[in-house]
Symmetry: C2
Subunit: 392 residues, 2 copies
């Protein structure tokens, strides 16, 4: 059976060079980077090389602004809880949006039960936050604004540069969850002006379970993991060195190949959007036409359920998703899609198609042909479809 | 140059079968275990196989009592902060000891600034907590007792079974940091009766940056990482599957080879202790004669500094440590050794020698010969030594 991955948003394959680097690290048997002897120093050097590579990818002013974490979720928890607790004496107000990842939403929920007030802003029909809404919501009590860069279900990008400027003018710390954009799009922390940036290695074809948190020098944030003095005293615990070495290599390649990778996935996305109407009808594209990830399309297909589409595509050897993998098993409709103004029925009919460097034009054609059959089959048995068009 | 590792407490090499399993996982390109399609299911199956293997190692009643973490430090932070915050309505008192790892001490310090009261118990001259002291310190406000199993600087074991029974009788949650013992010694969570157990993969020759937290079913504990529904809703974030697969394989081998590994390191430790007096004099053994790790000796060598010993042994190709790798860079004497009643000078002269399955009898002989030279050289230039024995 063919095996085509159109679910890169849930998992990217490792690049061959990343595999090589990780296997070399496994065979090297690095000692503990915190140890004093030479074996420890070798490990520390490998760790710092990875840190430099990651710092370059986002143009951090210095490598020590990078903290390695166990992935995007830890980075987000660290940023949000760490800033809130470190600055609680100044105030207990935080601003966010209605379309954030669960790692943001649930970290904030935890803080609410500790007495913090959270303002969660609506997005417009295209899924974007209005920066003026943030300016209006800021108060002397505000210690943190957390707005994501790229939404993982729609691909829509937020105006983080404008938001960062507003926060900077008001001396409020700004965090952005860029887990699904760093390594896909160029991201320059100095130009953008964010104070904290969460990102994950797998987004740019590194291993899962490894991520980073950029902490601009001087930003007041507590560690999430207390203990040893690792990571410049910002994150305790012996490092996942094999994973970090993989992330460092992936960051190096993401930076080197950014332009060609971007061109490749953009072309696939355009081809998909151009050809889609030749295969199915009655759908809604949830992805912003201009401000969006180059490698993702969210499409709500009327009268059917996205979950059924995913399962039937799987029978044809094609992987896709209907929502964030982190929310699989939840029966509720996506909070992101409902925030865009979609009906529950349309939200449930959503398919997230995400492209990668390993996809080809032929993959798109095979995918669309399979999708057409799946949609036709599902609509034939859809009560909603029959109700609209009459039983035959 | 020869390269001998007597610093297994800081880093164990990966077992060949663990390397193989991790390399196979890298080459397999697993998808996201939370994804709905078959590629996701395969990943989920690999994840659950690892969980079963780890559950067996500690005899957990069911695999879902195991939560995979990014290592011992995360497990400890999760246990301590998670129990404290989830049970704060019952009370805000926690009991611990003076010789815990920094991950425990600093997690508790964080809770103190959030209004918790912490009773930190002294140990006796052999480094052990008296269970009666815990019984005496318990109050209606106590929500957690956290006492480590094996100390990472002295190897001394605490009477966790007795402590667990006391806690159970009083319906107080008991956590033990067993990061340096699980996989080295048999540990049965059902027999011991602990509610929470922190452990780390590298202790049993798995990768660093991967660990586990055993949470007895029904124990009230909040997640440390909020977000997605991974790990049975107990720990959010896409899993470090390559590392977890390595940990699963290491757990399987640790269980299979427990008896022979134990016999091997015990013999090395005995040989070391027997032969040591033939090479150096005037030292103190800080490790408990009976209740201690089979693979570690802490020895305070008079008139010299442990850090200098480590650096000079390194010149002979031998790795050892003077204290917890997590505390490297700290200039203060070890809180663990001071708690035993050691003077500052003797604490500074401490060498931690930790054995592994890869060490041989010849390693011990080479190590002792090198140590003799190092100690003689350092004492020749030691002001303390001259003061005691007069300059020559």
């Amino acid at each position: 059976m063919t095996s085509i991955n159109f679910d890169h948003i849930s998992a990217n394959p490792l690049l061959p060079e990343v595999k090589e680097a990780m296997i070399a690290a496994i065979n090297h048997d690095y000692h503990n980077p915190s140890s004093q002897h030479r074996a420890g120093e070798q490990a520390a050097e490998a760790l710092e090389r990875a840190r430099e590579s990651v710092a370059k990818l986002i143009n951090a002013a210095m490598p020590k602004e990078i903290v390695f974490t166990s992935g995007g979720t830890e980075s987000i928890n660290h940023a949000i809880k760490g800033v809130a607790l470190a600055n609680a004496e100044k105030g207990k107000h935080i601003i966010t949006s209605n379309i954030e990842h669960n790692a943001v939403i649930r970290s904030l929920r935890r803080l609410k039960s500790a007495g913090f007030n959270v303002t969660s802003l609506s997005v417009d029909g295209t899924g974007r936050v209005n920066p003026q809404d943030i300016a209006d919501a800021l108060s002397d009590e505000t210690v943190l604004v957390s707005i994501m860069h790229a939404n993982n279900e729609t691909g829509t990008l937020q105006p983080v540069e404008e938001i960062a400027q507003i926060c900077r003018d008001r001396k409020v710390i700004f965090h952005t969850d860029a887990v699904d954009s760093v390594g896909v799009l160029p991201f320059d922390v100095q130009k953008t002006g964010v104070d904290l940036l969460s990102f994950a290695s797998n987004t740019f074809y590194g291993p899962t379970g490894v991520g980073g948190l950029y902490i601009r020098r001087g930003t007041r944030v507590f560690p999430l993991l207390d203990g040893g003095v690792q990571e410049n005293n910002k994150r305790a615990g012996t490092e996942n060195l094999i994973g970090i070495i993989g992330m460092g290599k992936a960051a190096e390649l993401a930076r080197r190949d950014m332009d060609s990778n971007l061109a490749h996935v953009r072309r696939l996305k355009e081809k998909f959007l151009e050809e889609l109407p030749h295969y199915i009808d009655e759908y809604i594209i949830n992805t912003h036409g201009q401000h969006s990830l180059p490698n993702l399309v969210s499409v709500s297909i009327k009268y059917i359920e996205g979950e059924s589409v995913v399962l039937m595509l799987d029978d044809d050897g094609i992987s896709a998703s209907t929502r964030s993998a982190c929310a699989t098993g939840s029966l509720r409709a996506s909070h992101v899609l409902l925030s865009l103004g979609l009906s529950h029925a349309d939200a449930q009919g959503t398919l997230v198609v995400s492209f990668g460097v390993d996809n080809t034009d032929e993959d798109i054609t095979a995918f669309l042909a399979s999708l057409k059959n799946v949609v036709n089959t599902l609509r034939e048995i859809s009560p909603l479809y029959k109700k609209t068009y009459g039983a035959n």
